[in-house]
Structures are given as structure tokens and as C-alpha cells.
Symmetry: C2
Subunit: 324 residues, 2 copies
Amino acid sequence: MSVDRRAVLAGGAAVAGLALAGPAGLTSASAAAPMATTQAPGFYRYKVGDFQITAIHDGFAGRPLEGFIRNAKLEDVQKAMGAAGLSTERLPLTFTSLVINTGAKLIVIDTGNGNSGAPTSGRWMENFKAAGFSPDQIDTILISHFHGDHINGLRLKDGAAQFPNVEIKVPEPEWAFWMDDARMNAASDALKGGFQGARRVFKDMPNVSRFQWGKEVAPGITAIQTDGHTPGHTSFMISSGGAQFIALGDVTNMPSLFVRHPGWHAVFDMNGEIAERSRRKMLDMAASEKAQVAFYHAPFPATGHIVRDGSGYDFAPALWSSAA
Amino acid sequence: MSVDRRAVLAGGAAVAGLALAGPAGLTSASAAAPMATTQAPGFYRYKVGDFQITAIHDGFAGRPLEGFIRNAKLEDVQKAMGAAGLSTERLPLTFTSLVINTGAKLIVIDTGNGNSGAPTSGRWMENFKAAGFSPDQIDTILISHFHGDHINGLRLKDGAAQFPNVEIKVPEPEWAFWMDDARMNAASDALKGGFQGARRVFKDMPNVSRFQWGKEVAPGITAIQTDGHTPGHTSFMISSGGAQFIALGDVTNMPSLFVRHPGWHAVFDMNGEIAERSRRKMLDMAASEKAQVAFYHAPFPATGHIVRDGSGYDFAPALWSSAA
């Protein structure tokens, strides 16, 4: 049954004829209100056990849908976007980093685009400060992988290091790959930018150390191997007061595409097969353990749960709450 | 296949033995950062054609899941909540009102709990001001129906009218029902509060007029009959620049329950059968026309699209964007 819109709009005819009471002499607002140009600051807080997590939004970069997924037809991708109520032409890639307050330590995971990304990105520091934080409160910055939208916030374009006094911890396998001169020299032109970008950020940065997968990298935070997106891509398992949380990084890009279709390979995945294996492993774990998750590229505030849906999965965004 | 969490955490063993570089002498943050107690202000802007809509959050009231749905077993309701990644015990009823800037007029739809609701509600005025608005900018307030969480913001507990100079427009059938003394006198004790509440708010309020279904009640805004939740419950169809938007009010309460299960009757629906008919009519129309919608009780920012899912529907939240 399809409802005719004119019939719906005309539904009131049944009550036509009733007398209407009306006020007289009201001087309503005298001038048109200006259109606003800003949103509320891009931060959002939630609890995981005794920890308080603050999602910090870095903005977005728009891109065409075409060419985004390597192993799916455009029409299938458009269908998936339509099924999620989204545009079938363009897609906003959003960037949301995490600040974790353990009560004793303030830990940051990934730092956004700095001033090297799209003009609609680079809001990390502004939103971090709007959330009441200052950089000198940070104890540790954890990095999931070396793509520019995750590390360029560490160093501005003019060369200024943004966190010279903060301990910065990066995945050893990621460091080993991108800092390998032989690999860089043999790389395609397209890939060379990634090697150069990692060097630009980390060169002569003395406050960087490397961690291994499977190790605790901060109190209650363990690094998990989720490679494929990059050779050293890392997720972080966070445990507090019996609650489990997984900062999944780029295990999926936009969940309405890749949680629904874990077999799809985003153009940014360096090794699609390995990335898919990591993705399936983590989706299964998150669903089985009912762990809350965050994706770097999920719609802000970029947190929720992985639920099973038939033989597949869906991403159920957490309910926004005004309680911090 | 279920993934063993210990195996995942131990995945890094493969790279054990690599040398780790570590910085020395860093003096990380010296003091624990305090846990924050506030969220960003509860407003969110989006465009519908040439109109700018601002969702204004009034907060929430928690309630047990038990007794919430009249015609479903608790275990089925819990299953639906679990499928949406939500608590199977309690549910937050959230309140989100709308401000519509047409460029010429500033229109408000519903006004929240005022200071008559749960302590976690009543944030409307604070968030309205945080969004940069002032009450004297409002041209018209439209009311969807007379439940307290929609009208108590019009008058505080001490009797103070909050918008004495603003044109307030209410549905004629809603007025006719709740202002009928004979109906009030015959009402059950449970229902009597609704009659008294409507009188408390609207008594001696000269700036109120009544509108009929099917009529344009503000520029580009048409009142639509969606009764059942209350006898005069009204939705608003908003048209601008070729874009369609429907402020659905309480056509559903929490969408993850009632969009997925349009046949479920919330305890607040005065006539469950009629409410269901209105719900099915509007879900079909929103899905067919791909109109953006807002529900008063959807998770903030409470807007998105109705998409078809098999023989039913799903609510696809709009993507949060930092672009106002």
C-alpha cells in the first residue's frame, strides 16, 4: 500500500468548519533571524567502566562514491548507500579521534589531519580545547597507523611539532614498513607519498617510541594486530571496571558500507585480503563480546556496537546522551 | 567461526623480538586531568532546501523497559533493544524540538518539559540560547500535541509564560479534546492529569490560536493529521526549494522499537489502533518520498530517513556534519 501525499495533506478536511480562535495584536519577531554558520563544538563524552572517553571530531573530506570500493560495482555501492538513507553520489569521510581519561592518565588515540587535509578538516585542536583539555595534560598519544589523516596533527605544515613534550607511541610493524628506505625507493609513485609523509611527521621527533602487538601500551589499553589497511595498522582494546571497548581505527571505513559488507575493499586498504581478514575477526569479536566500539571514520560521535543481522553484521550507533 | 579473544590479543607474538626504540627523559603530564561533567551544547543544525533547521535537545528521562509496550512481550522488546545495541533493562526517553529558520521567519515546533519534567530534562532554553537564538526572535511556535513534554516549556511551574509575545499555534482537534470540561469530568484519574496539564499551560494565554489539519500554518509548513497518540496529534510537512521534510512528533517513540515494529503500541498512545494507522501511513509516505524526517523521541539529533528493509522499515540516522 502506498499512501498518496495529497490525500494525507487533505486529511484535515474532515474537521473543516470548526471555529478557529485567534489572538489579536501580537507583534511577532520584528526581524528575520540570520542563518547560523556554526555547529556546537565537535566533542562528545561517554563512559567505559571507570574511564571517560571523549570523541574529538577533526571534520570531514568529501569524495565521490565512484572508485571508493575496489571489488564492488558502483551500482551495488549506491544501493548500500541508499539503504542507509545516504547520498548515492558523494560520501563524507569523517575523522574522529579519542581522548581517554583513565582517572590517572590522559591518553589520545590519533590526532587528525592537522593543517594538511581538506579545508573542512583540521578541527582537532579547536575541538580538543573546546572539550576543556589542553595539550600539556596529555600523557600519551597512541597512533593506529601512519596515514596522514591520523598523524598529520602531530606536526603542522610549517614543521612545528604539536606535542613535543608528550610520549608518542606507534606500532613497531608500521614504523618498520614506512621507515624502510629500500621499500620507499622501490615504491610506486602513488605509494611514495605515504613514505614521505611518515618521514615528514616523525623525522627528528625524539619523543616517539614503538610498541608491539599484544602488549599493554597504556594502563588498561592493549594493542591489537589489525593489519591490512596498512602493514602495521593497530586497534586498541580498552578495559575498565569490567567494561570492554575497542578503538577499531580503520578496520572499517564508513560502517554502513563495510560493516554491512565486510568483504568490500576500500581503495585505502593497502592489502584488501588481509584487511578483510582483520575486519571479519574484529567484527566477530566485538559482536560476541558485546564490546562498545569506535571507528575513526564512523559518523560522529563514531561509537556504538556491532550487532549480528542474519548472517552478517550491522553497526548500531550509541544513543547520544546529555549526561557526560 | 568465533574468534578467541586471547588469540587476538596474543597476535603480536609473531613480531616479538624486534628491538624497541624508546625516548628518554620525557616529563609527561604531571597531574591527572579531572573527569569532565558536561557535554557540548545540545543543538545541531541541518539544511532542508533553503531552510535551516536547528534541533534543540531538552534532555531525557529514563524509564524501565517493562510496561513500555502494551501489545508485546517484554522478552520481544528486550530482543529488539539488544538488536539495536541498547540496554535490555532501561530506556532513555529523549526530547528534541525543532527551530526552523525560513530566512524570513523563525518557527519553533514544541518546547520541551520546561521545569516540570525529570531532572535530566528541561535544557531547552539553555540549548536554544547556546545555539545563538533568543526568545524574542521567534515568530511562531507550533505545537504537535498537548503532552507535558511538548508544552510545559510554554509555562514554568511558577506560572510564568515563557513566550508572551510569540504567536502560538495549536491543533484545533487537540484543543477541542483537552479543553472539553465534560470529557475531563468523565476521565479516569490517570487521564485527568492530561486535562489539568493542558489547562495549566494554556489558561489565560491570549497569544494562542488554533489551526486545522491540511492547512499551511507557517510559510512552507503544513499541518498533517497523525492522531492516535493523542486525539489531535499533528505532524508538520515542511517544503523548501524542492526538499521535503516531515516533523513527525510522536508518530513513533524510539525508532529502533517502533519503526522496526510499527504494530507495537507504546503505553503513551491514547488510541493504539489509530496511532498505528497514522504511523504506518507516515512511514510509508516518508520512505516513498525519501523525505528527511525528525522524531521528537529519536536519539539526538533526532533526524534521518525512513528506509525500507524487507517488508518493513528502518530509521537511518542522518550523518552528523560539522558543516552548519
